[in-house]
């Protein structure tokens, strides 16, 4: 593996981690939004608060990691992507700002009506952020970000691959969020809540699975390079994703919530990795290869040092945090 590809892989690990951990947090917003009125939704919203409260900020940092790795490792492509995709980037950013602040505000809101307002903002923006980030991924994967200068401000992200990317992002987030919330509810002894979440997660899972695989047809038309990768090198991952997704549905159906978390993570990780492998060796599909878009070697080595430090310094406490929040002990109260 070349230095450039190693850094691209490290960057992509961040994308996958953000899709999984950030994705589960975003997905919780979907259930929060559809939980019903203040009284009916109280139990679910309290659950959302408990399960993402301790982790959402750590999960959010993956996005910063991706941005920093991108602009440091592949600066020119970062500038082109930001130039071309300024609109969806801004909408995603708006969602991120509103979501994080509204989530923090809701917890300490002075009145019920304000809590409701913040709650709606939090939940709504949990949907728009993954959608627009999905369109960004679609724009890059369909070859609409030029190597230099600016692509079309609108069609670069309003096209079949981008729109499907957005929908798939929202769907996978909701699916992950649902699986984790269901397991949390079950572990916390909220049996009725777990049951209702189970049904909704099953529905979301089926719908998302159908979209992911139906999307392959229009994507083949719209983005031939990506499609060739998906049907070729990435095919095993797509199959693995299908199997893990189906397995998750079966486990959910049989109320085996704990193992369902694992298969759900595998399903989403494989589909996201499938996209990355599918567009390899392109950094910006059809425009810039990873090898050609990378910055100075000395900087790439520096980035790998940071990644190594992160593996030693950040991953263990992160695992500890997840272990605490996913354990019986912290679920109470």
């Amino acid at each position: 593996m070349t230095l450039q590809v190693a850094v691209a892989a490290a960057l992509f690990v961040g994308v996958v981690a953000y899709a999984l951990f950030g994705g589960a947090d975003f997905g919780s917003g979907f259930y929060d939004l559809t939980a019903g009125g203040a009284r009916r939704g109280a139990e679910l919203r309290t659950l959302v608060d408990h399960s993402i409260g301790p982790v959402w900020e750590a999960n959010h940092v993956w996005l910063i990691y991706v941005l920093v790795m991108w602009w440091t490792g592949f600066p020119q492509s970062f500038a082109s992507a930001m130039n071309t995709l300024i609109l969806p980037m801004l909408f995603a950013l708006l969602g991120i700002v509103l979501r994080g602040s509204a989530f923090a505000f809701r917890k300490f809101a002075p009145t019920m009506s304000q809590a409701r307002l913040y709650g709606t903002v939090f939940a709504g923006s949990s949907l728009i952020t993954p959608f627009f980030l999905g369109t960004v991924a679609g724009a890059i994967a369909s070859g609409r970000v030029p190597a230099q200068g600016r692509g079309d401000l609108w069609t670069s992200w309003l096209n079949p691959t981008s729109i499907l990317g957005g929908i798939i992002a929202v769907g996978t987030c909701a699916f992950l969020g649902g699986v984790f919330l269901t397991a949390d509810a079950d572990r916390g002894g909220h049996a009725a809540l777990a049951d209702s979440l189970r049904l909704r997660t099953l529905a979301v899972g089926v719908a998302t699975g159908v979209v992911v695989f139906a999307a392959l047809v229009p994507i083949a038309q719209d983005s031939p390079t990506l499609a060739a990768g998906l049907e070729g090198r990435a095919a095993p991952l797509i199959v693995a994703s299908a199997l893990a997704g189906a397995g998750t549905l079966v486990l959910l159906f049989r109320r085996r919530y704990s193992p369902a978390r694992v298969t759900a993570v595998v399903a989403v990780a494989s589909v996201v990795t499938g996209w990355g492998v599918g567009q390899y060796p392109w950094l910006l599909v059809d425009q810039v290869r990873i090898e050609d878009g990378a910055g100075a070697d000395a900087t790439l080595v520096g980035l790998l040092v940071v990644v190594g430090l992160a593996a030693v310094l950040v991953v263990p406490p992160l695992v500890y945090l997840f272990r605490l929040t996913q354990s019986q002990e912290w679920t109470r109260g």
Partner: protein
């Protein structure tokens, strides 16, 4: 759009369409984030001290303070995280001419900053949710990584800024950026002092603001131990920082004479090179002449150059195209120095009086001054930041890349600026409302605030009551 075009023309002249809105946008979001960043740096250490006192000295008041400060920091850290994310997007959205060619030069410090931000976020999660769930002494230790990471993160971000002021670690050949040495950027010679100045400033701002909250409470008659302890602990942090800061600032200033003479000339309002140079208090540059200033002979040379004779280079020796906006830079600089000096003197007077046995906390004027110190420190922070950033203009990377060349050519950024202003205003209102509501509820005796939409609210007809009442 005609009006916007006109405004653009008047304000920005021949610059690229994206330059002025990009600068304003960056100024707004950085100026806003810097306040929250200060809390991220200084608050964990203050919480640690309060928490330590609570655990090891069995001080219930201190423990309550630590717990409440932690909850405040949760809100501030959340909006600090999102406003920091805004900045990382903006680096690319607003400054493609900087991030394209120089992304791999300046990126490594940001990568380390990301690492420390990660650490902060993880341990904040553990610490906040560990209350009552972890053994007290282990729980106390969970805040230390946050405090350390806050310091490292600040160093990294300031290192990038210092690099913009004193660029190193690359060469330019035929218009191409080559020979990139990222570690030199991370450890660039300008970083340590500039970091120290910012670090100490964070303690001043947060210390004075927090102390001011308790001073305000005492003014309203809440003169219990909780308020006295809250005031004193925060005030100690602020005092130490306020006394150290003038020395750090002085050392930093000495460097500017050789590194950025244009910035120093603007700071000192030196129109011509005089030997020795006077210190100009106040004053504005009107039609090329200094008006309304009070000149103190020699002092300019002494302060800026550590010498009785060495001059401050005047603006007449610097091409107009390389001069920063003089008045903004000068006023911002003098505001920072003026407030800094005032606060340093004030804390010395306070501790001297306390040493002599006077109870200044009984004095209403002293309490009012303590309340004012927070906003003053905040103004000094913003002014200092304006002085260093505006003073660097017209360069984004000093002597290498002009700000105009870093900006994109996107006139629609004006719309974005308006939207951002509205959004940040709303965020500010939200944050203040929520923090006030927290303190109100703490006064009402509710220590553990329930989750939103808590089951307590399920009885009918209580929708408009405070959550958890």
């Amino acid at each position: 759009m005609a009006v916007l075009d006109l405004v653009q023309e008047v304000l920005a002249g021949q610059d690229p369409a994206g330059l002025l809105p990009a600068r304003q946008q960056m100024a707004l979001s950085l100026g806003w984030h810097i306040v929250l960043a200060s809390f991220g740096v200084a608050f964990p250490a203050m919480i640690f001290v309060a928490h330590w006192r609570g655990v090891y000295r069995d001080d219930a008041n201190a423990l309550t303070l630590a717990q409440r400060w932690a909850k405040v920091s949760a809100v501030l850290f959340a909006i600090g995280a999102v406003s920091g994310t805004v900045l990382s997007f903006e680096m690319g959205l607003l400054w493609p001419g900087l991030m394209g060619p120089f992304g791999d030069v300046l990126g490594l410090p940001f990568a380390f900053e990301g690492l420390s931000f990660f650490t902060e976020a993880i341990f904040l999660g553990i610490y906040l949710y560990g209350w009552g769930r972890m053994p007290p002494r282990l729980h106390l230790l969970m805040i230390l990584p946050m405090a350390v990471a806050g310091v490292v993160g600040t160093y990294c971000v300031v290192a990038v800024n210092a690099w913009m002021n004193m660029p190193v670690g690359f060469a330019i050949e035929g218009g191409e950026v080559v020979d990139i040495r990222p570690w030199e950027v991370l450890f660039n010679p300008g970083a340590i002092l500039q970091f120290a100045h910012m670090w100490v400033a964070a303690y001043m701002v947060v210390g004075f603001l927090v102390a001011g909250v308790y001073a305000a409470g005492m003014l309203r008659g809440r003169r219990n131990r909780h308020h006295r302890l809250g005031f004193t602990m925060a005030f100690v942090f602020a005092s130490v920082a306020a006394v150290i800061q003038p020395f750090v600032g002085h050392l930093l200033g000495l460097r500017i004479a050789t590194r950025q003479p244009a910035k120093l000339a603007a700071f000192e309002l030196a129109t011509t090179t005089e030997s020795p140079s006077p210190l100009r208090l106040g004053g504005l540059l009107v039609d090329g002449e200094v008006r309304y200033s009070l000149d103190i002979p020699y002092l300019g040379s002494i302060i800026a150059r550590n010498s009785f004779t060495k001059p401050v280079v005047g603006l007449d020796e610097i091409p107009v195209a390389d001069q920063p906006p003089i008045n903004i830079t000068h006023v911002a600089f003098q505001t920072m120095v003026g407030i800094g000096t005032l606060l340093a003197v004030a804390v010395v007077v306070y501790w001297f009086a306390r040493w002599r046995g006077w109870d200044l906390l009984a004095n209403r004027w002293m309490l009012r001054a303590a309340v004012a110190a927070g906003p003053l420190a905040l103004i000094a922070l913003e002014a200092g930041w304006i002085a260093t950033e505006v003073g660097r203009q017209p360069w984004v990377v000093y002597d290498v890349l002009r700000t105009a060349d870093a900006a994109g050519d996107n006139p629609d950024l004006w719309i974005l600026l308006v939207a951002t202003t509205i959004l940040y205003t709303a965020l500010t209102i939200g944050a203040i409302t929520v923090l006030r509501s927290m303190s109100r509820r703490w006064r009402a005796g509710e220590e553990d605030l329930p989750s939103p939409y808590g089951p307590e609210l399920q009885e009918p007809g209580v929708d408009e009551r405070p959550v958890g009442s």
